[in-house]
């Protein structure tokens, strides 16, 4: 967090709404990205990100300045998204109510955009196979380079639980990937044997 952000945070804690809006400008992408990776819907991600900032604004008085602001913010977002995913399981939706799935355009040119979109969909399909807490741990680890301690702090888990969850998630993701994109079948071979035969 740089000097400006610290100043905005101090002002926001004193009730300055404009200062908090500056913080939103800085942190909107990380929060939105986490919500999108968790919920797989642009509309739901927007709603979750908005709600995250609203909760953060209301809870600023409880924020401990010794903690990292981004970790605190992403922790709020992750918990909100986990709740939303759990709620979805108990909600029966009609076909018309299904969320509109259209991630934002990522770059110039239709070809690049198409490839990027395909990658996004592959990533989302993989992430959706995980349970909500494992998903949040994977996103924090691979999109935000969070340490085990930071993930544990954000998701209220012990470090060993984080390690175990990440290990399980990596295995599930690898197996699912192998199912989706079958690797070339190799015959049983002995050491030093040429793979050409």
């Amino acid at each position: 967090m740089n000097e400006f952000e610290s100043e905005w945070l101090r002002k926001a804690q004193r009730g300055d709404q404009a200062a908090f809006a500056c913080l939103i400008e800085v942190y909107q992408t990380p929060v939105y990205n986490l919500c999108y990776r968790m919920l797989s819907s642009a509309n739901d991600a927007e709603d979750a990100a908005q709600e995250t900032f609203l909760r953060a604004y209301q809870g600023l008085s409880r924020y401990d300045n010794r903690r990292s602001f981004s970790t605190w913010l992403l922790s709020i977002a992750a918990h909100y998204c986990i709740d939303q995913i759990r709620r979805r399981r108990f909600t029966v939706m009609s076909f018309e109510e299904l969320p509109y799935f259209d991630p934002p355009d990522l770059g110039p040119g239709p070809e690049r955009s198409l490839v990027a979109k395909e990658k996004q969909q592959q990533v989302q399909a993989l992430l959706e196979s995980l349970n909500p807490q494992d998903r949040a741990a994977v996103v924090m680890r691979y999109w935000y380079d969070f340490s085990y301690e930071e993930i544990g702090e954000s998701l209220s888990l012990t470090i060993s639980a984080v390690k175990s969850r990440l290990h399980r998630a990596r295995r599930e993701l690898a197996l699912l990937w192998a199912e989706q994109v079958p690797l070339p079948q190799t015959v049983e071979r002995t050491r030093h044997e040429s793979p050409a035969f």
Partner: protein, 179 residues
């Protein structure tokens, strides 16, 4: 074939020592299952690395401010209704209590009227008694103090009033000057 601990080593982010690395490499050379798992995980990892962070549509902060206004409006609305509900509930409870007390009176109105008349007469009596008391005290005091003392007291009181008025005027004037 036993795939442990190789599978754990493959998926672990902890650094392996030299022996472990050697054993793992040997195992991967003969085990398709584990080498496929390694390759799949590496593919997934590469895919994650190649997938950038997504940003929200432009105007996110403005939309948040609108949402905050709407949220505050809803909260105030709910708080107003809660306050109204509590007040209405309290009023309803008081009305019910009053109604319960009024039922016996409504059953026998003559008793109620007699009670009212009694209270009215008692009130008039109290007022008369108080009036007589005040008059008798005044009369006693005026009889005790001679007329010259009364004139002196009145004169002193007038002087004090005039002095107070003049001082007040002077003080107000000087403050205005300072401004």
């Amino acid at each position: 074939m036993n795939h442990q601990p190789f599978e754990s080593w493959l998926l672990s982010e902890d650094a392996l020592d030299e022996d472990q690395t050697h054993l793992l490499r040997e195992h991967l050379e003969i085990c398709d299952r584990c080498s496929n798992l390694e390759e799949s995980w590496n593919d997934v990892h590469r895919l994650f690395d190649a997938t950038p962070r997504l940003a929200p549509a432009i105007g996110f902060a403005d939309r948040w401010q609108e949402r905050l206004v709407e949220h505050n409006r809803k909260r105030n609305f709910v708080q107003s209704w809660i306050l109204f509900g509590i007040t209405a509930g309290g009023a309803a409870i008081l009305l019910i209590l009053l109604g319960l007390q009024a039922i016996p009176l409504l059953r026998s109105p003559e008793n109620f009227l007699l009670f009212l008349i009694y209270r009215l007469v008692a009130l008039v009596t109290y007022v008369q008694t108080a009036q007589n008391l005040v008059f008798s005290i005044l009369k006693t005091v005026t009889d005790l103090v001679p007329p010259p003392v009364w004139i002196g007291l009145f004169g002193t009181f007038t002087m004090v009033c005039v002095l107070w008025f003049v001082l007040l005027k002077q003080l107000t004037y000087s403050r205005r000057m300072n401004l």
